[in-house]
């Protein structure tokens, strides 16, 4: 919320620059920044610098060479000023800055000396000339590198200079007197629980508590009724929505412009003055933090005002001329004929004050924050009034607010008469007493306060404190609706005292080892294994767009939809990591010829996709997948075998030995993977039944991407992909690897090339070699697969290293050879193989 610096100062006579005030509030109340005033645009590139040294220009008597220092370094500037003085802060226009008169600063060569920028005079900054002083001095407190506008708050032009005092200083404390229409705005981030703070009065109270300078609050008494008359019959039909209806019926008014000072205040907040009545209500709203509204009495039919919740579909046209179809629960006011107010948000056009208005219903009623917020969101109108009400303003302040408004109107409107005061209140939130024990303060903050210190802080905040033993009984004002329990008071203490004074102490507790999160441990192992195998880890968004889903020919039914995305790419939750990976490949191919990437992330889909999922109560599945790609390994089919190799390594790390994993040709076609170059990955697991029989469970795929899919993504190189259900891996992972003893005796390796029909799977050949070879086979390594001219059409050649080993003795070459020949014979018989 934007607040006026001088308005705040009218309450508390503090001696702080806007910047200092902003810092004080930030550290003790709420984040506050000095609004960049349009002046800083005007002075863009003109910053605070300090004069270090002044030397004569070698080639010109009237010029000096001035060393200056600013936030981004030191510069040597040529300057014609006669009042230069080392140590003074000056306005330095950097190269590229544009002066208010339109002159653009360039690096100049002045009588043979380079000058990167310029030191400005008041005139050059478009300010009134400050006597004979050519160079403008800024406050000694000005911060190097700051835009000069913050220090050019011109005072009233008394004395005819730019607020320059005897030695030419301006700014800094230039606000002792009236501001010359040039106010500074502070933007205070009002916390959602502090409706009291959304006002000049509220922030001024804080400043008073922080600076210990008394706040000057004028008293306004509820006005006497001049001529009692029941002109309005008001009724609150829904007390929950309107905890207090409070209004005056007033006559004898003349619509005219509001006083100048009030207009200035409103203008300083960027508002346009309208007339005395509207301006008074706006002024008091920003002053007190309570919205109010004035209706033209003549326009309220039958003198009836009923406050109730709207029914869906009812309509009202607001002041801005827009007709709204109301949602259920909007708060409205109604007379005997029509709805005439969208209460708490914006007045109705049909009850608006006009130039001929003489009688009004002026009200400062209280409306329920939740209802205001809901309506304001649904209708898409946010006004200052609605955002004040959203925080649930105390019902206790209405009388003061209206009393002040009437008093301000009366200053000019001598004929003003109050006829009726309406007060219908169903909710009280008067001042209350909160009990706070000294022990709790010590427990929370570990600071040893003297009880006097605590009482003093509370006194500054306007709380009354009684003490019994070590316990404080604190009476807090009604408007501080945020204060409910002792912890709220501890916050008050520490923010006034200073968060920076909290000591730093480590917790004391039992020295217990933390429980290890095994899922995260496995995740770390998986990620490290892949990174060590040459894969780069990527993070893609959890969202996807319709376009991508269609491109992948996926089932839209499985997707969960975001109802309010700001970007079409965020419309759905991803159901697979594959689409992200494919997009990453497309994006990286212009820069990299070959690479490998992976992602370990969550996917989200509806349960319909696989009914097998157990234990999920809701129709919503969120699970981790591990997906990776090998892009252009550089040798034919190495993509697939590279991807498979890393999956094998991964499974090994997760405790699955060779015999416990299986790669089988894909049996059901699917759009992402190549039908003939894809394997289903299976792992051997123990069943949960009584006998714990073992079976193989599918955990994902490894395969080449379907050429049609590659085409859709514009990928012109071979890509192999693995897509694994990481949750299943976690479920079955074991820290015990398939360790076997390192052999004691030497092994014998013999090679064999087996030419067979191409459709015979390698796994079958491997299986046959193992069974035909028997116990003396230690390992079989398929090191080459060849298809081409030398073996003829429909045939392929598989080349193996077969490693023979005995665990009891040194194997003889002859023995190994015999087994090798036996294997060859078996292969010939079974697969019609040609052995080389």
């Amino acid at each position: 919320m934007k607040l006026s610096y001088s308005w705040l100062k009218s309450y508390v006579d503090f001696d702080l620059s806007p910047k200092e005030l902003a810092k004080l509030l930030t550290m003790h109340t709420a984040e506050t920044v000095v609004e960049a005033d349009p002046a800083s645009e005007k002075f863009k590139g003109i910053v605070v610098a300090e004069i270090i040294e002044i030397k004569k220009h070698p080639n010109a008597d009237k010029l000096s060479l001035v060393d200056i220092k600013t936030a981004d370094g030191k510069f040597n500037i040529v300057c014609g000023g006669t009042n230069l003085k080392a140590g003074k802060k000056v306005a330095y226009a950097k190269v590229g800055a544009e002066l208010p008169n339109g002159m653009v600063i360039k690096e100049a060569l002045i009588r043979g000396v380079k000058s990167p920028g310029m030191i400005c005079s008041a005139e050059e900054l478009g300010l009134p000339k400050s006597g004979e002083m050519e160079i403008l001095y800024l406050s000694d407190n000005a911060k190097l590198g700051d835009n000069v506008s913050a220090y050019l708050i011109a005072k009233d032009n008394k004395g005819g200079n730019a607020g320059g005092n005897a030695d030419g200083n301006v700014g800094g404390n230039a606000d002792k007197d009236d501001m010359n229409g040039k106010d500074v705005l502070l933007d205070v981030s009002i916390p959602a629980n502090r409706p009291d703070l959304a006002s000049h009065l509220g922030v001024a109270r804080e400043i008073s508590a922080l600076t210990k300078i008394e706040i000057a609050i004028q008293e306004y008494k509820t006005p006497e009724i001049d001529e009692p008359k029941e002109m309005i019959k008001a009724e609150v039909l829904d007390k929950d929505l309107c905890p207090r209806f409070y209004g005056f019926v007033i006559s004898g008014l003349k619509i005219e412009p509001s006083p100048d000072w009030m207009q200035e205040r409103l203008k300083s907040l960027g508002l346009t003055p309208i007339n005395n009545i509207v301006d008074a209500t706006n002024f008091v709203m920003y002053d007190q933090g309570h919205p109010m509204h004035a209706f033209d009495y003549e326009k309220i039919a039958g003198g009836v005002m009923k406050i109730r919740g709207a029914k869906e579909g009812e309509e009202v046209a607001t002041l801005d001329g827009i007709k709204h179809k109301l949602p259920d629960g909007a708060i409205i006011m109604q007379d005997s004929e029509k709805i005439f107010d969208l209460a708490g948000i914006m007045g109705g056009a049909n009850s608006e004050i006009s130039d001929s208005t003489t009688a009004i219903v002026l009200q400062a009623s209280n409306f329920k924050g939740e209802a205001i917020r809901k309506t304001s969101r649904k209708l898409g109108i946010r006004t200052d009034a609605s955002s004040m009400f959203e925080r649930n303003i105390s019902t206790s302040i209405s009388p003061y607010v209206l009393a002040k408004t009437v008093a301000l109107l009366r200053e000019k409107q001598k004929g003003l008469k109050v006829h009726q005061i309406i007060d219908i209140r169903s909710k009280k939130d008067d001042s209350r007493v909160i009990e706070l024990s000294g022990g709790k303060i010590k427990n929370y903050l570990e600071i040893d306060f003297h009880s006097e210190e605590i009482a003093e802080i509370f006194r500054r905040l306007g709380f009354q404190t009684d003490r019994k033993g070590g316990t404080f009984f604190v009476r807090v004002p009604a408007f501080r609706i945020d204060l409910k329990g002792p912890e709220d008071l501890i916050e008050e203490i520490i923010r006034i005292y200073g968060y920076d004074k909290i000591p730093s102490k480590f917790p004391r507790s039992e020295l217990k080892p933390a429980k290890e999160n095994m899922d995260l441990k496995w995740e770390k192992i998986a990620k490290n294994t892949l990174a060590n195998s040459g894969f780069y880890e990527v993070y893609n968004y959890s969202f996807t767009g319709k376009k991508m889903i269609e491109m992948l020919a996926l089932d839209m039914e499985e997707y969960f939809k975001v109802i309010n995305p700001k970007n079409p790419d965020n419309e759905y939750l991803r159901t697979t990591l594959i689409m992200g990976i494919l997009q990453n490949i497309t994006d990286n191919l212009p820069n990299f010829e070959k690479f490998s990437i992976f992602e370990l992330g969550k996917v989200f889909y509806s349960k319909g996709r696989d009914m097998k999922e157990a234990g999920q109560k809701e129709n919503f599945i969120e699970k981790k997948m591990l997906t990776g790609a090998v892009v252009n390994a550089g040798r034919k089919e190495l993509e697939f075998y590279g991807a498979k190799g890393v999956v094998e390594r991964l499974l090994y790390e997760f405790g699955f030995s060779k015999g416990e994993t299986k790669f089988e040709h894909l049996d059901v076609a699917q759009p992402t993977f190549h039908p003939g170059r894809t394997a289903t990955v299976k792992i051997k697991v123990k069943g949960e039944g009584k006998f714990e029989e073992q079976y193989f469970e599918d955990i994902g795929f490894v395969g080449e991407i379907h050429p049609d899919m590659l085409e859709r993504f514009g990928i012109k190189t071979d890509v192999a992909l693995f897509d694994l259900d990481f949750e299943k891996l976690l479920k079955y992972a074991s820290e015990k690897i398939g360790y076997v003893d390192v052999p004691k005796f030497p092994s014998i390796t013999l090679d064999m090339a087996v030419e067979i029909d191409e459709e015979v799977p390698a796994s079958e050949v491997l299986g046959l070699i193992a069974s035909a070879g028997g116990d003396l086979i230690y390992d079989i390594d398929l090191f080459d697969i060849y298809q081409g001219k030398q073996v003829g059409k429909g045939r392929k050649s598989l080349a193996f290293h077969i490693i023979y080993l005995s665990e009891e003795r040194t194997l003889k070459e002859k023995e190994a050879k015999e087994i090798h020949d036996r294997i060859a014979k078996t292969l010939k018989e079974r697969f019609n193989a040609v052995i080389r």
Binding site: A192, N443, I490, E491, P507, A514, N517
Partner: protein, 339 residues
């Protein structure tokens, strides 16, 4: 006889030593060690010796032969070695040409900082917990004292799903989920992906990573929070960094505090990155609101604790001066291969 061998050994040794090149050495070999060389000639004479002398002469002969042969081979090897000066000239490669990466991969930068943080907090006895990305309204808001239509919900731009669930806007919902299932004392961190429905720019992404911390015990204080966060920041961002607290409002902590840390760029002097303050916002923290403790069935008179949450991807950005946070989610290898 033995003296003959010794004499021959001396003579031949000297000849081997003195040969200047391979051709000389070959001549020496022919003269002394060849089949008809001088050594062979002397050895032939052993036959004529008396049996009592034969044994010793034979032994000496063998020793001399062995010695000379080894000296000969040693010398020959020395001739075949290419001198370094030649190698330098002939076997030269251009060592100034760029290196070749044989096989290299890397963890995502956010993973790297996360592993580091997990390790750090584990060293202080924290358990690392994960939670669901897609939360219910209850855990994301309501249980944290943010009822429906409460203005505190405005603090976070929220995505809503058709089924009423919410991609979590923070990791704080896990405070409740964890406490519901565990008795105090509590000491956990919850790292995770969080979502905000924001228009993206170099500072804002609709996805980012947060680290939540929760400690509950009988005497856990704000001073404990300060020491914990201070040490975490120094660990992850450098020993020269400080933190400061300033007032803030979070419905689920009281007192609440914003956590600022020393600006990376200017180290506290004030610059454009920190808008002149010397500090940058890190996250939120505070003492857990007693209403939360009561909600999960803890004795709020006995137990108290602190909670904090901060975006750690932001620390990574500042540490490496990454000016555009969108790079974390672009999967551009030109970015990723630098970490």
């Amino acid at each position: 006889m033995i003296s003959d061998f010794k004499k021959l050994q001396k003579e031949a040794s000297e000849a081997i030593d003195n040969s200047a090149n391979a051709a000389d050495l070959e001549k020496v070999r022919v003269k002394y060690l060849a089949r008809k060389g001088e050594l062979a000639l002397v050895m032939k004479k052993i036959r004529d010796l008396k049996p009592s002398e034969k044994k010793e002469a034979g032994k000496t002969a063998n020793e001399v032969k062995k010695d000379l042969l080894s000296k000969f081979f040693e010398k020959r090897v020395s001739f075949s070695k290419i001198p370094d000066s030649v190698r330098k000239e002939k076997e030269w490669i251009d060592v100034t040409a760029p290196g070749v990466v044989l096989s290299h991969g890397a963890l995502h930068p956010i993973t790297q900082i996360l592993f580091d943080l997990e390790e750090f907090f584990r060293s202080m006895g924290y358990e690392v917990i994960e939670g669901p990305d897609i939360e219910t309204d209850y855990y994301n808001f309501e249980a944290l004292n943010m009822p429906k239509d409460h203005p505190s919900r405005d603090m976070q731009d929220t995505f809503y799903l058709e089924n009423g669930m919410i991609p979590r806007t923070h990791t704080s919902g896990m405070q409740i989920r964890y406490m519901e299932k565990h008795k105090p004392p509590v000491r956990i961190i919850v790292p995770g992906r969080v979502y905000r429905n924001e228009k993206e720019d170099s500072m804002h992404t609709c996805t980012f990573y947060q680290l939540e911390g929760l400690v509950i015990d009988e005497t856990t204080s704000f001073a404990n929070l300060k020491a914990t966060l201070m040490s975490a920041v120094k660990h992850i961002a450098g020993k020269d960094k400080q933190i400061r607290f300033r007032p803030s409002y979070f419905p689920y902590t009281e007192p609440s505090a914003e956590i600022d840390m020393t600006c990376f760029k200017c180290r506290g002097k004030g610059c454009t990155v920190c808008e002149g303050s010397g500090w940058i916002e890190l996250g939120g923290s505070g003492m857990v609101h007693p209403a939360l403790l009561a909600r999960v069935g803890y004795d709020a008179d006995k137990y108290q604790g602190f909670a904090f949450g901060f975006g750690f991807d932001r620390i990574m950005s500042m540490k490496h001066d990454i000016k555009d946070a969108r790079f974390y989610y672009k999967s551009d290898l030109r970015f990723l291969n630098q970490f």
